[in-house]
Symmetry: C2
Subunit: 328 residues, 2 copies
C-alpha cells in the first residue's frame, strides 16, 4: 500500500474539529498535526498520537505535512493565512466571501505559482458543491434558469442579529426555502423570483423577563437587510426549549436547473443537501479536496485552483480501474 | 471571438437528433456534418447548412471536424465505431453496457493513445452524471450507503419485453422508484434493499382483440429477470390512450448518499433528474462533454477518458474568470 497522505489542520473550531473527524474516515489519510493560535497545551483533541502545535511553528513541519487544511474564518483569518501557508504547503480552504473571491484567488495564486504548491480555494458546499452544480447543470442545459435555495438551516449571521435586539436573551434564526416557489421551479414554470421570494425566515426567541414581545417581534421583522424584505415568523420559547431543540447546526439547500431541450421538453436537474451538521459536512468536503490538492501537486499542477479545476477522480480514494469497473 | 468548435454527429436516431438540437443551444459550437449509414439524400435534417454524408466518407473530413459525437447503440455500433473513429477524431459516446465498460475503455484507449486523440466514453446520465454523483458523494462521506433509483421512466428493454407477449398488440413499461424506500433513505435509515425492492413496474398494455387479459397479466408478472422479482401492475388501455398519453420518453431518477460524520450526524446528499425526454438529455450531456474532449485534446491530454477525468470547467463555455466571479 502507498504511504498515507499526511494532513495538517490549522484552527480548531467547529470546522477544524470536523476536519479531524473526517480525516479518520478516509482510508488513505493520516492526521499529522493540529496548529492553533491558542496554547497547544490547553487543547484536548482526544487523540494522543496527534501533535498539537503553535501555528507560528508550522514552517518547521514542511517535510512532514503533505497538505494543510485551513479552518479559519473568511473575514480575517483566511486572507492572511492562506497566502502565507501557500509559500510552504499545499492548502485547502473554505473561503466564502463570494464578492471577494476573484481578488482572493489572485493573491493565493501568485504565491502558490511561485512556491510550486497547489491551493484549492473556496471548497465546501456553497461555495463548493453548489457552485459545481450551478456550472455543470448550465453547461448541460444552456437554455433555462438556475435556482439556489438555502435551508432549512440555522443561519449564524441572522441568529447573531436577532440576539442583538433589545430584550432578547437568546435566539436562533432558520432560513427556509419557500415550498411554493420550489414547486413552481420543479414544474418547469421558471418563475422570476428574488432571493427574498425564495426563502422565508423563522426566529425562535428567548425573551428577557418582562420584555415587550410585540416590540421585539416588530423590531426583528423590520430590521433592514436581514429581515425587512422577507416573510418572517417570530416565535417565543423558553431557555430549556432552545437548548433542547435548537442546539445543533443543521443546514442544507437545493440547486435546481430547469432547462428546455430540442422540441420544448422540460428537463429538471436537482442537487440537494440535508445536513444535520453544517460544519462537519463542510469539513468533510475540505478533506476530500485535500486529497486532490496533494495529487495535483504531485503531478505538477500548481497554483490556486477551485472545484471547477478538479477532475472528480482526484477526490476519490479509489483507483481509476475501480471507478470504471464499480461506479460508472 | 475564438473560432467555434466544429462538431460531427454519427448516427441520426433519437440521440443524433437530440445532439443536433443541443449543439444549436451552445454558443461556441457549430454542427459541421451528420454522418449516416443510410442514403444521405433520404435524410431531412431541417438544416440547409449542415452536410449529410455517408459514414464511410468520414475519413475525408478530419481537418474540418474537431470532435465527433457517436450516437449509435451500445450493443453493436459503438464497440465497432468508436475505436475506428478514435484513430482519426476526438470522440464522445454514451456506451452504457456497464459490465463491459472496462474492456471497452481499454480498446478505445489503445487506439486514442496511439493516434493522439481524446475519447470520452460512457457519457450521459447513467453512466454519466449519476456515476459522478456516486463517486463524489462517497468521497465526501466515506461512511454511508449510496442508493440509485431509476424512474419514473419508460424503459425501452422492458417495453420490448411486454410487446413480445402473445396477445399484446402494443404496450409500454414504466420503472418507478418505491416511495416507501426513498423515504427510508432520505430519513437516514440506510435500509438493506435490492434493486427490486427499490422499484416497482407498471405496464400499459393494448391487447389484441379477444385476447385473454388474465393470461397476459400472469405472463408478464412471472417473466423471469424482467418482472418476476418486482411488484408489477398491469393495466389495459386502448390504442388511442397509448398514443395520447404514452408517446414521449420521460425518464429520470435519484442518486442518494446517506452518510454519517463526526458525532453521528446524518448527512444526506441527493442528485435527481426529472426528464421529459430521455434521449434529448443524454445527447445534451454528450454535447457538453464534446467541448471537454476538444479542449483536453488541445492541451495534449490524450487517450480514453471518463467523466471522472474531466474537470468541470472543461464542459462549460464560460471562462475561468467568469466561473470564479459569477458562479462560485
Amino acid at each position: 500500500m502507498d504511504k498515507k497522505i499526511n494532513v495538517g489542520i490549522v484552527g480548531y473550531g467547529n470546522l477544524g474539529k470536523g476536519a479531524a473527524a473526517a480525516v479518520k474516515q478516509q482510508p488513505d489519510m493520516e492526521l499529522a498535526a493540529i496548529f492553533t493560535r491558542r496554547n497547544p497545551q490547553s487543547l484536548d483533541v482526544g487523540e494522543p498520537n496527534v501533535k498539537v502545535l503553535q501555528v507560528d511553528d508550522a514552517a518547521q513541519y514542511q517535510q512532514e505535512i503533505d497538505v494543510m487544511i485551513l479552518c479559519g474564518g473568511s473575514a480575517t483569518d483566511l486572507p492572511e493565512q492562506v497566502p502565507a501557508f501557500a509559500e510552504m504547503f499545499n492548502t485547502v480552504d473554505s473561503y466564502d466571501t463570494h464578492a471577494k473571491i476573484p481578488e482572493y484567488f489572485a493573491s493565493v495564486d501568485k504565491v502558490a505559482q511561485a512556491s510550486g504548491k497547489t491551493s484549492i480555494i473556496s471548497v465546501g458546499w456553497d461555495p463548493g458543491m453548489f457552485s459545481l452544480n450551478r456550472v455543470m447543470s448550465e453547461a448541460l442545459l444552456p437554455e433555462g434558469q438556475t435556482y439556489t435555495f438555502w435551508g432549512k438551516g440555522l443561519s449564524q449571521g441572522h441568529s447573531d442579529a436577532v440576539r442583538r435586539v433589545d430584550g432578547v436573551k437568546n435566539g436562533v434564526q432558520y432560513t427556509i426555502p419557500s415550498e411554493k416557489v420550489m414547486e413552481q421551479v420543479r414544474n418547469g414554470e421558471n418563475p422570476k423570483v428574488s432571493k427574498s421570494d425564495r426563502h422565508v425566515r423563522t426566529c425562535y426567541i428567548v425573551p428577557e423577563e418582562g420584555a415587550d414581545q410585540a416590540r421585539i417581534e416588530q423590531e426583528i421583522k423590520t430590521m433592514p437587510n436581514y429581515f425587512d424584505e422577507y416573510e418572517t415568523t417570530v416565535l417565543f420559547i423558553s431557555d430549556e426549549e432552545l437548548k433542547e431543540n435548537h442546539a445543533s447546526m443543521p443546514h442544507g439547500g437545493f440547486v435546481i436547473r430547469s432547462g428546455k431541450t430540442g422540441s420544448n421538453h422540460n428537463q429538471i436537474l436537482e442537487y440537494s443537501l440535508n445536513l444535520d451538521s453544517n460544519p462537519e459536512f463542510t469539513s468533510s468536503v475540505l478533506v476530500a479536496y485535500a486529497r486532490a490538492a496533494y495529487r495535483m501537486s504531485a503531478e505538477g499542477s500548481h497554483g490556486a485552483k477551485t472545484v471547477y479545476d478538479v477532475a472528480p477522480a482526484y477526490i476519490s480514494p479509489k483507483t481509476q480501474t475501480e471507478l470504471r469497473r464499480d461506479y460508472l
